[in-house]
Symmetry: C2
Subunit: 195 residues, 2 copies
């Protein structure tokens, strides 16, 4: 019964793709069972044959978005010189990605998801995302004795917290009120951490 699995996975893909399009376009507020099913070309109840509930479906998108974001960052920071400079570039591109897709920021950081503790792996994936993006460069800095392990842990943590805070204020509270100001502020705060 291999066909069965292929078809089932394909169906899941249709709903996941529809959800991703909506999230990237209209954001979380446009996500509804009927909206997703419409876009996927099926009735709303069909969705429940492939996903436990709508949260289950929405969080299936996390990995795909992380992969996309990772690719984007790698292409944008390919020629940065290794070490702290590259961490700075990665962080800035990371911020730009979420500014481009506020709906993905909402999904990653705002959407509440501890109803089911089975989502723990997804939560972990989100929490460690920036660390994973930078891990090569942190290891490089440590090997080159540019930083101690303990310092690197503190700075990793500061970057994670600061990027989330920056995006929260900019995307959710319109502060600062222009993209240029946001970028200036972000660069200043990121440099303050990494220097």
């Amino acid at each position: 019964m291999k066909n069965k699995e292929i078809q089932e996975e394909r169906m899941r893909g249709y709903f996941i793709d529809a959800t991703k399009e909506l999230l990237k376009g209209e954001g979380l507020k446009s996500i509804s069972v009927r909206n997703i099913a419409d876009r996927a070309g099926y009735s709303y109840a069909t969705l429940y044959n492939y996903f436990k509930d709508i949260k289950d479906l929405v969080f299936e998108c996390v990995k795909d978005f992380q992969d996309e974001c990772t690719d984007y960052i790698q292409s944008e920071t390919a020629q940065s010189s290794r070490g702290i400079a590259k961490i700075e570039a990665i962080t800035e591109t990371y911020l730009k990605y979420f500014v481009q897709y506020p709906g993905i920021f909402e999904l990653f950081f705002l959407e509440c998801l501890f109803d089911l503790s089975e989502k723990q792996t997804t939560v972990e994936m989100i929490n460690s995302f920036l660390d994973r993006l930078c891990s090569n460069e942190w290891n490089y800095c440590i090997q080159e004795n540019l930083i101690t392990i303990e310092e690197s842990e503190t700075k990793k943590s500061a970057l994670q917290i600061t990027t989330a805070g920056l995006l929260l204020f900019y995307l959710n509270r319109r502060h600062p009120d222009s993209y240029m100001e946001f970028l200036t502020l972000a660069r200043k705060q990121v440099r303050r951490i990494l220097m």
Copy 2:
């Protein structure tokens, strides 16, 4: 027609009190027109005689919570020595307040509110809250030449962003997974900013 105004303000108070109780107790998820009206002792439609919509009502609570939080912080940090040490104490107490009432954190930072731009004053109140709590101490530090104005602005901003980020991860993503770890992390990051 002064009685009219008194009565109207009293009615608004009933609904606001009910909303505040729900927010402090069950959090934002428990907020609904019918839930609030039940607790206030009126029918759900009566609410619309006193508030444009439910968001209008919910954001009426912001000022009250800020006042409460301000009192709490003042009583908890009264005997801290002035300057950076007091800013540190204020920030820690500020974090503790929101940990105690996650629903208030949701209201202040997570709830989306730029449908109507008339809420701009509320947004400003939220964005500048921590700055206002610390403004006396920052001014003290500047007057005593302990810090430059520019440094103080950068650090204010860092505190604002970092506290929101810390709370976002702890309250919304269970990271770190214990209160003690959260406090340790928060203290370390706040000190890193203020040192």
